[in-house]
Amino acid sequence: MGPFGATLLFLLGYYWPFMAVAALVGLVTGWLSLSRREPE
């Protein structure tokens, strides 16, 4: 694993809560994007 991988692991280990929140927001957005009522 090169320096890029090590940096990525460090960032993931340190800032994972930000990514978890972003993933959660994305999950809700993706779910709701299908819930929009289709035009009659």
């Binding site: 940096t7 993931l12 800032y15 930000f18 978890a20 993933a23 957005t29 779910w31 299908l34």
Partner: protein, 170 residues
């Protein structure tokens, strides 16, 4: 907080997590919707038939019940067909030149059909619940290109609703 020399990398990772979440959420919703709209009406029809046969024992029910059975078996036949039929198997549903007895059924009683769709169906010669109840997969494919958003007729279970309404008024 986040140091400036990491901010771009973190922003990219957060963006990737967000996009991944969007995809997973969309896919999960699609899966849940497909699971909810799976065919599951046969027991309801059987229960309804049993109930009507108990309450109308003295009435001249045989003809009515056989019509209901025909409708139920039509739906069951459709259940066994693949959900996505190929485009070449599209078929125009049988139409009527005018409503029977000059009176059309209230198609808006089917959840998902509004005034606009009802008028479009009438224009295609579809006026009665039993006409909708007899639709097959090929008919639905033909109609979805013309009067409804793709997948909507199956998702909102127009045929199954029409079977119930047709058996209710039969």
């Amino acid at each position: 907080m986040i140091p400036l020399d990491h901010i771009i990398e973190v922003a990219l990772l957060v963006l990737a997590a967000y996009l991944g979440g969007c995809l997973i959420g969309y896919g999960a919703h699609l899966a849940v919707r497909a699971y909810k709209s799976r065919p599951q009406l046969a027991p309801a029809i059987a229960a309804r038939e049993e109930k009507s046969s108990k309450t109308t024992k003295t009435a001249p029910a045989p003809a009515t019940r056989s019509a209901a059975r025909r409708l139920a078996s039509a739906v069951e036949r459709e259940d066994t067909e693949p959900v996505q039929a190929p485009a070449s198997s599209q078929l125009r549903p049988p139409d009527l030149p005018a409503p029977r007895d000059g009176k059309a059924d209230n198609l808006r009683a089917i959840k998902g059909i509004g005034p606009k769709t009802e008028s479009a169906l009438n224009d295609l010669g579809i006026y009665h619940y039993d006409q909708i109840a007899a639709w097959t997969g090929a008919h639905i494919d033909w109609l979805e290109g013309r009067i409804a958003v793709k997948g909507r007729i199956r998702r909102e279970q127009w045929v199954e609703q029409a079977v119930l309404l047709a058996t209710a008024i039969a």
